[in-house]
């Protein structure tokens, strides 16, 4: 039997396979490049980058939880100039797509990153709307349909590359948020970002994280992620990139069946630096086992 065709198309960009990295868990690939062949990845999604360098949060930034972890990195990044100088040329040496994840504390910051990337050689943009909107008292951009609509519209106007909008799961109605993003021009939707969580050091009687709360990721959150991907797949027409707790090919197939065209591997990289490759091989094995010629033939094929 021939190897199945793993190609997927996300907003006009063809990926050799659906396996991507989750922003912030893979740097820009330099470190994991020592463990895997980056050419094998469908796409590398880079760590969130802002218009200027951000220092991130102080104090302890990670807490282990049952089947997961909390992080409060706070989007530390070297700023778009440094990113363009170093990360793009590094990644361009590989035969993989580059997705730049974008952070911002104001609409203006998001826009300035997008504009700065206008003439740069990157394939897709991913707008992280889980950031706090400082002008609105720190409420997360992604929790309100109107804010989402506004931000996505303005960013989309200025973007050359197709725009993925990455949703936060900390909302009542994820489908409504996804629809708002789509209506405002999102070319694709990715989800989920981390769930807001907390851990307490009972011996010191203090939160474990310097930032008190942090983002929960890892296999613990997979059921929530999968439910949201399923709900969003039933609400929008644009392609979806699913993530949240994927550690195996089986997990990835669940997301594909639920309606994701691409899938991203995050926390699993920390447990196993070859996690992306294991996921890729697992998806391929599944297709072979069920005589599927093309991965796109199983996307969204859940029997209800």
């Amino acid at each position: 039997m021939n190897r199945p065709d793993l190609k997927v198309n996300i907003a006009g960009v063809e990926l050799k396979n659906p396996v991507m990295t989750a922003s912030g868990t893979f740097g820009s690939g330099l470190e994991y490049g020592e463990y895997i062949d980056l050419n094998q990845l469908g796409a590398v999604v880079t760590k969130g980058v802002a218009s200027v360098p951000w220092k991130g949060n102080s104090g302890v930034r990670v807490a282990e939880t049952y089947g997961g972890m909390l992080n409060s990195v706070g989007l530390q990044n070297p700023g778009i100039e440094e990113f363009i100088k170093k990360d793009i040329p590094f990644l361009r040496k590989y035969d993989t797509k580059i997705v730049v994840n974008i952070a911002g504390k104001t609409l203006e910051e998001y826009c300035s990153v997008v504009e700065r990337l206008y003439d740069e050689d990157v394939d897709l943009l991913e707008l992280n709307i889980s950031c706090p909107n400082v002008k609105e008292g720190g409420v997360c951009f992604g929790t309100d349909t109107e804010m989402v609509s506004y931000v996505v519209k303005e960013v989309k106007k200025r973007a050359k590359q197709p725009l993925i909008v990455k949703l936060t799961p900390n909302v009542t109605d994820i489908a409504a948020i996804a629809k708002a993003a789509e209506a405002a021009g999102a070319d694709a939707i990715s989800l989920i970002n981390t769930l807001l969580g907390m851990a307490i050091d009972i011996y010191r009687r203090k939160p474990v994280l310097g930032n008190i709360v942090g983002g929960l990721s890892g296999p613990a959150i997979k059921p929530v992620a999968l439910r949201m991907v399923y709900q969003v797949a039933n609400a929008v027409k644009v392609p979806i990139i699913g993530m949240g707790g994927i550690i195996s090919g089986e997990d990835a197939v669940e997301f594909l069946l639920a309606g994701a065209t691409g899938i991203a591997v995050g926390t699993a990289n920390f447990v196993n630096p070859r996690a992306t490759m294991d996921v890729l091989e697992g998806v391929e094995e599944y297709l072979v086992k069920y005589n599927e010629d093309k991965v796109i033939d199983i996307i969204g094929t859940l029997n209800i």
Binding site: K55, G56, S58, F270, V271, R274
Partner: protein, 255 residues
């Protein structure tokens, strides 16, 4: 390509109450490792996802082995302490930059506190010239005999006075002032800060091995911060990749 490795446990025994010594057969690591680096150990418990960073205490290239000394402080280390000879353990490494050893430096001062002591053993083995070792513990000292094999000047302090001088390593440094052109130190943050201050006052260069909670261990996730000077400003460096050993003058203590 690098990969996750399987170490075979050759020995795993308690040294003093709550502190264990583990010898692992894992030649990829023993071949590559340098002094002051660490390895990441994975638990077999599926509820614990993140690796536990443990410094390399001794490197035995010849036999393809490394020795680790670890304190049982939580679930992960408790599990490690239960493992038996012959068991295998998933691990990665060696990681981090390690200590800088210069041939020109002849007068070395080594300062360790508690569970920060073990990584200094391999260091002392490799230093050449005059070596003074200052070790502080809460109560039960570890590895003192081993350090004495490489230098006569090993000073020990315990907080409760049950062994050596009652007090801490700074008290020891005052009591037995060393000849020194370079200080190497590993231990709890307050101790490192005190060593930094002392060494600054004495105008001696110092290398400090820092500790921070980690996730990836290889520099990709940015959770393991060391607040560091950068030009007129500062920056969070990564303990796992840019460290764990930092030059005293980079490190900022105001956090």
């Amino acid at each position: 390509m690098k990969e996750r490795l399987t170490g075979i446990i050759k020995k795993n025994q308690q040294l003093v109450d709550g502190i264990f010594e583990m010898t692992l057969s894992v030649d990829t690591i023993s071949n590559e490792a340098t002094v002051g680096q660490f390895v990441n150990l994975y638990s077999i418990r599926k509820d614990l996802l993140l690796p536990r960073p443990i410094s390399i205490c001794e490197i035995d290239k010849e036999n393809g082995q490394i020795k680790l000394v670890y304190a049982v402080v939580g679930k992960g280390t408790a599990d490690f302490s239960q493992m038996q000879e012959g068991d295998s353990i998933q691990m990665m490494g060696p990681f981090g930059n390690g200590f800088t050893i210069s041939e020109d430096t002849k007068e070395h001062v080594v300062v360790g506190g508690g569970i920060g002591v073990p990584p200094l053993l391999e260091l002392v083995k490799r230093l050449k010239g005059d070596i003074s070792v200052y070790l502080g513990f809460r109560c039960d000292p570890i590895l003192v005999k081993e350090f004495r094999m490489y230098t006569d000047k090993v000073y020990v302090a315990t907080e409760d006075g049950s062994n050596g001088v009652k007090g801490n390593v700074i008290d020891l440094l005052h009591k037995h002032p060393p000849k020194a052109t370079m200080i190497y130190s590993c231990g709890p943050k307050p101790m490192l800060k005190a060593v930094a201050d002392w060494s600054k006052e004495k105008k001696i260069e110092a290398q400090l091995s820092m500790e921070e909670r980690m996730a990836c261990g290889i520099g990709a996730c940015l959770v393991c911060t060391c607040k560091s000077k950068k030009d007129d400003d500062w920056d969070y460096k990564r303990v796992c990749k840019d460290g764990p050993v930092f030059w005293r003058d980079e490190v900022m203590w105001d956090e």
